[in-house]
């Protein structure tokens, strides 16, 4: 199987879907002539022209609104937010428009858009450029939210998202674009509503998505050396949130850890933990442990920034403590 980076896997997904369906078009800031801030859209304007790869002004509300209005008239737009940090000026379009239009108009229309949002921290970009907002999106009925962590899932979920008839928030992490892995050629579709065990284990269930999935998998390897068998569940499908593999895993391990880059309060881990308590309370041997970003505006200083985001060591320490093995 070909080895691709997440960046190239996403690029391949976009290219294939644009070749397959003439109604698919891309829009965003500097995605065309400039090839994209993170080069995910590299070469696509050259291949498909300016109509299908639309460079927009720096105006996030019009980017999302244009996508919605075009989708309502039959197209399948894929909008790129240069980074997720800028989506805050477009949140009205995301929530009040994209997510609500179908329901508030009694099912009279659908809004098949994809909004790609590169995000996450760890690059010394400080408070305004280091956000993770998937929990905001996942709070909203009407949106689907996915956050793949591997190249194969990046491709397969983006293709599925483009074909989906709902607004899909497609969460990418700036720190993983260069991560490589096997990616099936051609028609590779990954469902938007299925989470998956990425590494089997018996002692503790670790739930993580996007970049933290890679951190969790890395930690699981080390834990193995320390005599702890960790099962890692990829939480790539955040809304609808597929809890089935988590519950099944927790019934076996009796222990659960959640890992996310975003802030802890009201976060992804909070929701996963609540669902575990609701569905598998009696199977737990200990409370669910939550690992998350420190609750500060992200600091610039390298040492401080490192403290602000979860790392492999946090997962190892937490797992050992949870299992009483420290």
């Amino acid at each position: 199987m070909p080895i691709l980076s997440i960046r190239d896997a996403l690029n391949q997904a976009l290219r294939e879907e644009m070749q397959r369906d003439p109604n698919v078009f891309l829009l965003g800031e500097d995605i065309g002539l400039y090839d994209g801030s993170f080069k995910v859209t590299r070469g696509l304007m050259k291949e498909f022209g300016e109509k299908r790869v639309l460079d927009t002004p720096i105006a996030e509300e019009i980017i999302v609104g244009t996508a919605i209005g075009a989708a309502m008239a039959g197209l399948r737009p894929v909008a790129e937010m240069m980074t997720v940090n800028f989506i805050m000026v477009a949140m009205d379009q995301v929530v009040n428009a994209a997510a609500h239009i179908r329901y508030m108009f009694g099912g009279g229309i659908k809004v098949p858009i994809v909004i790609r949002t590169p995000g996450g921290g760890g690059h010394q970009l400080a408070a305004q450029h280091s956000h993770s907002h998937e929990n905001w999106f996942a709070h909203v009925p009407g949106l689907k939210v996915v956050a793949p962590g591997t190249p194969a899932d990046a491709k397969g979920m983006l293709k599925s998202a483009i074909r989906d008839d709902n607004p899909v928030m497609f969460v990418e992490n700036e720190g993983t674009y260069a991560v490589k892995g096997e990616v099936p050629d051609g028609e590779h579709l990954v469902p938007l509503d299925k989470n998956e065990v990425k590494r089997p284990g018996d002692d503790v269930t670790i739930c993580a998505h996007s970049r933290m999935l890679l951190v969790a998998l890395d930690a699981a390897k080390d834990l193995e050396q320390l005599g702890i068998s960790a099962e890692v569940v990829d939480m790539r499908a955040l809304r609808p949130l597929d809890m089935a593999p988590v519950i099944e895993s927790v019934r076996k391990t009796g222990h659960a850890i959640t890992v996310e880059e975003g802030w802890r309060s009201f976060g992804v881990g909070a929701e996963i933990a609540a669902r575990i308590y609701e569905e598998a309370f009696d199977d737990l041997d200990a409370p669910v442990a939550r690992i998350a970003g420190a609750e500060v505006p992200t600091p610039y200083n390298k040492r401080l920034e490192k403290l602000a985001f979860p790392a492999k060591a946090d997962v190892i320490v937490t797992a050992r403590a949870l299992l009483g093995k420290n």
Partner: protein, 336 residues
């Protein structure tokens, strides 16, 4: 120009008697529909926010009547009349106000969220300025698919001060989108007069910043509105040139049904009512011998019967089924 100074020119543009009578009938239908809506609101048949179009009929009918069936309208929360003018069934509108399953949005939207896919009435939106970007998106799709269609985006004077308005005008001109932006300048955004909210009080001038066609018209004169709209729609359709049309009009009632209306003088309201568009257009039709008093009265009786039938339909229609609470959150039911 005053109506009576311009009969021949207008008659050329709208030489057809039946068209003129149809315009009058639609204005009257909106007026009677809204009066009945107020009544039903007071009887608590209608809940939530409820904003009426009374006073704005000439602006609404003059603009929307210039569109074809396949053209799109995006509107705001003050949109009952806009929907009627686009051909949406009065019965389904009243049923929506009543929150019934037979309403335009199956009782999920209410007064502020009317919608009709087939009539291409693409919705009432309750966030000021929100639908302008959507209109641009639909305009982009029209160009993308190379269709001969036009989008009309309707909003208030207050909406010309929000960011989405400016982002929309910019891309409409930049990307040559077939969108006609219609400002329904009824002098107030809730209780705030235009002069207290906008640095530029001739709102059409905001088009100048985007090198776009800007027009201002007497929004109480249906033929004047229709005439200028015809031109702007043709410009959008044939040349993909967007435009900004300011219709100067007035709402006779408060901002919404719950507005005690304390921020403007009674005299001001009276003066605008003296220029009432339905009254003036009726006088014009009589003067031109296109209709008699009896004709207009008969039309009124007919229109009121239509409104009564809408109320009856709404009243007798079923409520949404509680088991359908989650229907249509997603396009695929499994996800709901």
């Amino acid at each position: 120009m005053k109506l009576d100074q311009r009969p021949t020119e207008t008659a050329r543009v709208l030489s057809d008697k039946s068209t003129l009578l149809k315009l009058y009938r639609e204005m009257l239908l909106i007026r009677r529909f809204e009066e009945k809506t107020a009544e039903m609101y007071q009887m608590a048949k209608i809940g939530g926010f409820c904003h009426l179009n009374i006073g704005e009929e000439a602006t609404i009918v003059g603009t929307v009547s210039a569109l074809r069936k396949e053209d799109y309208v995006y509107s705001n929360y003050r949109e009952h009349g806009h929907a009627i003018a686009k051909g949406v069934d009065a019965k389904a509108i009243m049923a929506e106000l009543f929150g019934k399953e037979t309403g335009t949005s199956h009782g999920r939207g209410g007064s502020m969220h009317l919608f009709d896919h087939d009539r291409r009435f693409f919705g009432g939106y309750a966030i000021v300025g929100e639908a302008l970007p959507l209109a641009c998106g639909t305009g982009y799709a029209i160009r993308y698919q190379d269709k001969p269609e036009v989008v009309m985006s309707m909003f208030g004077d207050g909406a010309t001060n929000i960011g989405a308005f400016h982002e929309s005008l910019n891309v409409a001109k930049l990307w040559k989108l077939p969108v006609v932006f219609v400002i329904i300048n009824n002098q107030y955004g809730m209780g705030t007069a235009v002069s207290r909210a906008s640095a530029v009080t001739e709102l059409w001038k905001k088009a100048l910043a985007y090198d776009m066609t800007g027009e201002r018209v007497d929004g109480m004169d249906v033929l004047a509105v229709r005439q200028v709209t015809d031109r702007l729609v043709a410009q959008a359709r044939d040349q993909h040139e967007p435009s900004l049309l300011e219709c100067v009009t007035y709402r006779y009632r408060g901002h919404s049904m719950s507005d005690p209306d304390t921020y403007r003088g009674k005299q001001e309201v009276t003066e605008w009512k003296e220029r009432d568009s339905i009254l003036k257009f009726g006088e014009y039709l009589k003067r031109e011998r296109l209709a008699s008093d009896r004709d207009l009265e008969a039309m009124d009786v007919e229109v009121m019967a239509e409104v009564d039938a809408a109320v009856k339909f709404a009243d007798e229609s079923p409520e949404p089924d509680p088991k359908d609470l989650f229907r249509d959150v997603y396009a695929d039911e499994a996800a709901s």
